[in-house]
Symmetry: C2
């Protein structure tokens, strides 16, 4: 049974990051820009929140990091990329399920 957690955005930052990494590996700056555009500028994740999420998520095994050149010509400049793992995909699916539940619960207490 899906357990409802006590954090939502606080818990859903990880979910947003995973959603982006589902398509292809990416890196911090790019992910933050994507979150901004996908949310229509309504949510701008703080840098520190994002990078501390990476650390946590890598520890949890939801993502893996690797370094790659900034441009394909490979002139030395490196970036840290992240790629979603199977555990991360699994976690994402669970969070999506949990969201349905959470939304239903919260909406019972919301008017309009």
């Amino acid at each position: 049974m899906v357990e409802i957690s006590s954090d939502v955005i606080r818990g859903y930052n990880d979910t947003m990051i995973l959603y982006i990494l589902m398509k292809e590996p990416s890196y911090g700056y790019e992910i933050s820009k994507q979150i901004r555009t996908i949310s229509d500028e309504k949510y701008i994740i703080k840098e520190t929140t994002l990078y501390s999420a990476f650390t946590r998520m890598e520890k949890n095994g939801h993502i893996e990091s690797f370094t790659a050149d900034q441009d394909p010509n490979g002139n030395g400049k490196k970036r840290t990329y992240y790629r979603i793992t199977d555990a991360g995909r699994q976690y994402y699916r669970e969070k999506c399920e949990e969201w349905g539940l959470t939304k239903d619960v919260v909406e019972k207490f919301i008017e309009q």
Copy 2:
């Protein structure tokens, strides 16, 4: 303009409490039972979370406490009741608006 906050359930506990207090003043134990039943047993607020919410909310001016007899016959046993203030009602309305925004944002990152 409504700002999106980073906490949802974490921030919506207060909203749930206010929702209940909109109807009539109530007290801790009763509120916790109502949250459980309204949410169809899907969300059970922890006692410590609830009572620390009361302290915070009274400090914020969203609720007011008063003591009253446990039963109308008034045989000495007292309970701490809480009543919503105008500021609390205002806050509740804002949170409801914010919820619409938050939901839309989160759902852009959710599949299904």
